[in-house]
């Protein structure tokens, strides 16, 4: 968005823009805490953080209705939090505790929540795309006007499941919004070394899906694009596709020595930190005082600390329960 457009958006509804800022800060602080807890061995397994990419999920989630569905990847703590899963339940899950949103069975990469129609967390690259197509198919067949939103990385674009899903969604005219989080890397593989055509929105257009690219560091731009797309999908205009251009500031996971990219490149992108961009814009417009900013940070910190305390106080699922949920539990007739 241009400076004028940003100023206009802020002037229109400063309270809402501050809300978006708070949402991004929630995700950022939650994940910074996760990284510390990982180093302290409270969280184990793989941990993939979204730091730098917060504007994407924040902008998209902001326009969804409560009964829409969300499908995400293994980099999904922020998505779950923004969708309305409690920080407590997410943190407890990462601790492997019974109070976690999956009773300790899923961990960081597999967060699920039926109440918010959050269909995971999927640790198989591109594994969520066909699921999203099916969820949308169910809505279409049932005559509901719900939208399914599917997040995935640009690495997934190379997988067969991506192409098969694009085709089915377009062929059957399904109510699904595909959100490609293009952070330029799939682990250590840069986009230009994995795709012959690096214009991902163009690729989606090849399946006759309405698709365009958006500045994924600008939460207002993301929100506007998402609103347009979600409204169109809900109105029956068929699948839509957003390529959200973003960058991950941290390593791929906690095991990544980042041999494949220059520090200078990371630093360049960090100058476009989505949180800093929005905070600066609000301040320039006189819509965020120093007191408001510190109050916001303070409240977020309280939420994160409360989540840690909740997880710390959690309990282990009894080992006798190990084989539960392999099959559905039927109540006796």
């Amino acid at each position: 968005m241009t400076e004028e457009e940003t100023a206009a958006a802020i002037a229109r509804d400063p309270e809402h823009v501050r809300h978006l800022l708070r949402q991004m800060v929630r995700v950022r602080r939650f994940e910074e805490a996760c990284v510390e807890l990982y180093s302290a061995t409270k969280i184990r397994g793989f941990l993939h953080v979204y730091i730098g990419e917060e504007a994407v999920a924040t902008g998209v989630m902001s326009v969804l209705a409560p009964d829409d569905a969300v499908v995400a990847t293994y980099r999904e703590h922020g998505h779950a939090l923004l969708r309305g899963v409690s920080a407590n339940a997410i943190m407890a899950e990462m601790y492997g505790h019974a109070e976690g949103c999956c009773r300790g069975r899923g961990g960081s990469m597999h967060l699920f929540d039926a109440a918010t129609r959050f269909y995971g967390g999927n640790a198989i690259v591109a594994g969520g795309l066909p699921l999203a197509v099916g969820l949308a198919l169910a809505d279409k067949l049932s005559g509901r006007d719900r939208v399914t939103v599917c997040f995935f990385g640009e690495g997934a674009v190379a997988e067969g499941e991506f192409h098969e899903s694009m085709n089915l969604a377009a062929l059957w005219d399904l109510p699904v919004l595909f959100c490609c989080e293009n952070n330029l890397y799939a682990m250590g593989t840069a986009l230009e070394r994995s795709e012959s055509q690096t214009d991902i929105a163009l690729k989606a257009s090849g399946y006759a899906i309405a698709a365009w690219a958006v500045d994924g560091m600008d939460v207002l731009a993301v929100e506007e694009a998402a609103r347009r797309a979600v409204d169109a999908v809900r109105a029956g205009a068929g699948p839509h596709f957003l390529e959200l251009r973003t960058y991950r500031f941290r390593a791929h996971s906690m095991f990544d020595p980042e041999r494949y990219r220059e520090k200078a490149e990371v630093e360049r992108w960090m100058e476009r930190d989505p949180i800093e961009l929005l905070r600066a814009a609000l301040e320039t417009q006189g819509r965020l005082s120093a007191d408001e900013w510190s109050a916001l940070q303070h409240e977020v910190e309280e939420e994160v600390q409360a989540a840690i305390a909740f997880a710390e106080a959690g309990t282990l699922e009894p080992v006798e329960e190990l084989t539960r949920f392999v099959y559905s539990e039927r109540t006796a007739p």
């Binding site: 300790g104 899923g106 990469m109 597999h110 690259v125 067969g160 041999r259 392999v326």
Partner: protein, 326 residues
């Protein structure tokens, strides 16, 4: 020379790349990133991008391309980051690699080697903890290798590359950091025979891959109770070395099969069935099995540990088989 399992595997790839111009390595993040498990670290610098090929995320595509390159006269080593993602390439492995020789009436063999990490134990939850080597051992046309020692990590690859048919090598994730001594002249090893890793007289613990250390640990624990366990490392799950299995049964008359795969329909069932078919009257007790619980592997550490085979469970099974008198 002291080195890790990971380094032994890397040395094997380096040797293969040096010895045969037709050999190349391809897979996700094998080059710039240095390999998902750092096995191929440094090979890109040494051999260049023509022979150390980073692929996009496209398991079916690049495994299929490896099969095609093998048909075209190359000797590809295809790395699938983990067995979990090989599921996206199962069509190519099962419907092409395993069948082409037979369907073509012997005209087209597929000299490909596919390497992948397998197994659980690192709190990665269900989608990243599968042990499916026993499953793939179901398929005629494939050879399934499970190196569990430094010698085998160093030596199996070259022999596999010399095999005219598809070979799958499963490297258990828990083994990569295992360090030990390897002879300076260590080189190719056979890929046909099982190996007795510990001699014993009272009970045979039959296992492979990631549970070999578990079995050896159990044997040590049993020794303190005066139970003398033999440990047989299968090394190759297809074809199985029946003679080695029957020989250890004939010696101890008691068997515990240890497998990180699930019990139902697993390789442990196959081994037990073969013993029953060929050595029923040699047995002094029913064959026992220690496998993973029948549940997708959970994230929480205590649940995961309860799901996977452990030294304690192997010891308990062995005691049971040996009986109060043993």
């Amino acid at each position: 020379m002291k080195l890790t399992y990971r380094e032994a595997m890397r040395a094997a790839m380096r040797e293969a790349l040096q010895r045969d111009e037709r050999v190349f390595l391809m897979g996700e993040d094998v080059g710039r990133y240095g390999g998902g498990f750092a096995v191929s670290l440094g090979l890109l610098e040494e051999f260049g991008p023509r022979r150390i090929r980073d692929t996009p995320l496209s398991e079916a595509g690049f495994v299929g391309a490896g099969i095609g390159a093998a048909l075209g006269g190359m000797r590809p080593i295809v790395e699938i980051m983990t067995v979990n993602f090989s599921l996206l390439a199962l069509d190519q492995i099962v419907n092409n690699a395993a069948t082409l020789l037979h369907m073509s009436g012997g005209q087209f063999n597929v000299p490909i080697v596919i390497r992948m990490t397998t197994g659980g134990g690192r709190q990665l939850a269900a989608q990243h903890s599968h042990s499916l080597e026993g499953w793939l051992a179901h398929i005629p046309g494939l050879r399934i290798l499970t190196p569990a020692t430094l010698e085998d990590a160093r030596g199996m690859l070259w022999t596999a590359l010399e095999d005219p048919d598809p070979v799958l090598i499963f490297e258990h994730g828990s083994l990569y950091n295992v360090a030990g001594e390897l002879a300076d002249d260590a080189g190719p090893v056979d890929i046909d025979r099982a190996a007795v890793r510990r001699e014993g007289a009272d009970v045979s613990i039959i296992t492979y891959g990631g549970t070999l250390p578990t079995a050896l640990g159990a044997a040590d624990a049993l020794a303190t109770d005066g139970i003398d366990a033999e440990v047989l490392d299968l090394r190759t799950l297809r074809p199985l070395d029946d003679a080695a299995v029957l020989a250890t049964v004939a010696k101890t008359h008691r068997v515990v099969v240890v497998d990180e795969g699930w019990r139902s329909g697993g390789i442990s069932a196959e081994i037990s069935a073969r013993i029953t078919e060929s050595a029923f009257y040699d047995l002094d007790a029913p064959v026992a099995r220690v496998c993973s619980e029948e549940v997708p592997v959970p994230y929480a550490r205590h649940l995961e540990q309860a799901a996977l085979p452990s030294v304690e469970r192997v010891v308990a099974a062995a005691r049971e088989v040996v009986g109060p008198g043993g």
